[in-house]
Subunit: 256 residues, 4 copies
């Protein structure tokens, strides 16, 4: 059974900015889904901010293996309850791939527990992404580096937690660097942050970017659900794996 | 100048449970502060849930280098705005030491971005903490292992992010294990989770526990504040470190 | 194409100790290979210390995707040149799974750069392995914990580098704990250390152990070879990706 | 008592290359020691390849808290027995700071268990080091970035293990990036790799580089020795912390 990937797009600039609309006639989410569809192991669909419950109903998330998230201008329009719902699904084991300006999305900040801030410049400068971890599954089939001739600059410090692994580091023409591919796990869910993807540039038409996203979906996928990681059950004394005798005071048995 | 440590105590069971009141006549926070005071490099004070703003005013946090947090029954009584205030101070560089049932405190869950759940049993059983990382500053001066004859059991899986380093692992009489000392950084702030400390047992009268807490305060302390990690400033094109020429479309300049 | 797994066995105790011979009539390597063969995605074969080049010829390693290593009494009989050969293959991307007493094998110590020491006791006591990272691929399909009624005890501190992730932690009847499943990457090669497997006990007849080993082989496998990670090539000035002009002194051009 | 830092210099190019000799009249080791001496908490001395036992006798290492290592042309002249001696001291708790071309020193490769390879170009180009982890003790007091106008380029992939933390990332004028400050622990010893320091440039006359090295020495220092991490003692059954009865077969008691 293929991996069910859901591409979430904010879908705001596509409606408001002529450049973005021309570059992404199907919407950015539509184009990202098209990149994923090149992998027969991935079944890609889309959801947008404007749909009821932002397209992230309980039922929809229940049949999603990996969620990709692109947002920028309307982070604060995303309902907090939906963010919590997504966080719970990630903890259970749904993969999450956060793209570019999604570094400031509610869901990414929620799962990182950190500011997730950075420096930025919108100048269409050259970005060169170096693979620093060629053995990582997300780097599979990639060249040593790849270039995006026009991108927004993101500069360090990127105030996120130290990742499990750093996969890419970016060089920018204007003099900055950025850790552009970072992996995390929260609960049972794999998380990948991937830097490129400013809406005014054709980044999601790039072949190598497509390969990275397909690799990331395959890496983030897990066939299992671990809802048990969200609860804190009591193990009664008489069910202890080794025989023990209860001793000392208990909160539930006052001495008087 | 000594490290200014603030011990936050929920201060609920001390008022309601006779065992707890007898064991901790100064309150748990008072006893933890007494443990810290044995280090001349630490200046310890206390705050409780019941104080205005839970004793965590802007002014108080501004003069706190390391915050220790013990809570259990009243996590939900802690005001969300105070939790955000503390999170921001941690990101700026304030150290945070989370104790025992604080695994489910709002501030710990906020900074971990994870469920932070576990299994538990209140049976006064034996816990033996093994030092798995003897070179870590928090393990300084400790024996290979130390025992707490009566403790609450916490069992794995502990659904927290993979730590920077694991310092302690606990053995429980009833057959469970637990990663009992874990380090993290969020923003510029060092975080240490330390497992023992159930309120009905005299854990905070234990000498080795005191040594761990003093080590942890010294480790978590940072003399610097990094408020800049919370903001995402623009770097204008004409201030780029390497000369670049602006190219391509911008969000702020529509073509028409 | 299935994953080509090579199970290396020291094959000494099977010849010398009647208990071991009875428990493992095909040799420990043979039994481990049988466990792997239950996965149609794995093609398992074996090699032993006694074969020419310990069965690890250049040709054999070239067609090995994942190597499993069990040794105990004869670590020092393994030729240093073969150890270097294996290390190079791991760096290129071959997976390596090190079993039990292999913690002191030349190849594990070589790749860890650390003492890899521990405490031990051969008393046939109960070991209970807890899954501390249920979302990790190596934990797939496993119960919350599993028990081995008779095992050798290994106790902390296990002086290995902090792992990428901790998958299992063991509880021992005699009072110790041990981080029993640890992941690493060296070069492009994935490495998994798995604790159980003392030769006088039927550990490799255990169904759950078999599941762990099959999971580990699938996790450690990489389809790519990254021999380039072993060399340090010069990038000439005239091949620089951004135009630069050579400046300053060079080692190769003396001023006189 | 101040931290006893020993700066080891290969001391070859200082004798053979006029540029190097002019830039470092006291030797590179002498100049690095001078940088450290600006910290009253550090007592710096030097040793060179040419001294008996390379200046790293048992006695000398026994009174060294942190060793700094600069080598380039003569890695293979360092005696293997001395390398093992240093590795053991690191495992016991001596700090180690490896500089620039020391990435290919025997001691660094020994402790990393990895190729430690990279790409390079000697063109005197501009390097800009960005602090990606401002809360790390090694970044204390540093600006957001600092520049070295003339440096050798090192490019990714740097085939070292994933570090505990990444502190610096370098931007190079010719288009490459490099993870320039990486932390590790092996046994009880803290290890820091710091990239800059090509011998034909005045890098060790840079004030910020001096600050980094002093910070690193303070960070790497540990007051404790943990020789016990190098041995694997037996814990006899009758000394078990919990009472157990010996069961099953043993290697040392054959059934016949």
């Amino acid at each position: 059974m293929p991996i069910r990937a859901l591409v979430w797009g904010e879908n705001v600039h596509e409606q408001e900015n002529e450049f973005v609309a021309r570059t992404y006639p199907k919407g950015m989410h539509g184009q990202i889904a098209a990149l994923l569809a090149a992998d027969p192991n991935i079944l890609a669909s889309t959801a947008t901010l404007q749909e009821p419950e932002h397209g992230c109903t309980e039922a929809r998330l229940a049949e999603t293996d990996v969620l990709l998230w692109w947002g920028h201008a309307a982070h604060d329009k995303v309902d907090d309850a939906i963010v919590e719902r997504i966080a719970r699904r990630v903890w259970e084991g749904m993969g999450l791939i956060v793209l570019h300006s999604g570094h400031f999305s509610k869901i990414f900040k929620r799962l990182m527990g950190a500011p997730c801030a950075l420096h930025w410049r919108e100048a269409g400068e050259r970005e060169r992404l170096w693979v620093v971890n060629p053995g990582h599954p997300i780097a599979r089939g990639l060249p040593r580096y790849f270039e995006l001739e026009n991108e927004e600059m993101y500069g360090e410090p990127f105030s996120v937690p130290e990742p499990l692994e750093t996969v890419f580091v970016s060089w920018f023409q204007g003099g900055e660097v950025f850790r552009s591919g970072l992996t995390y796990r929260r609960g049972a869910g794999n998380i990948f942050y991937f830097r490129p993807g400013h809406e005014t540039y054709p980044t999601y038409h790039d072949r190598t970017v497509g390969q990275v996203l397909r690799n990331a979906v395959n890496w983030a996928y897990s066939p299992e659900a671990h809802a048990e990681l969200l609860s804190a059950p009591n193990t009664p004394v008489d069910k202890a794996l080794e025989p023990i005798v209860e001793r000392g005071a208990k909160l539930t048995h006052h001495p008087g």
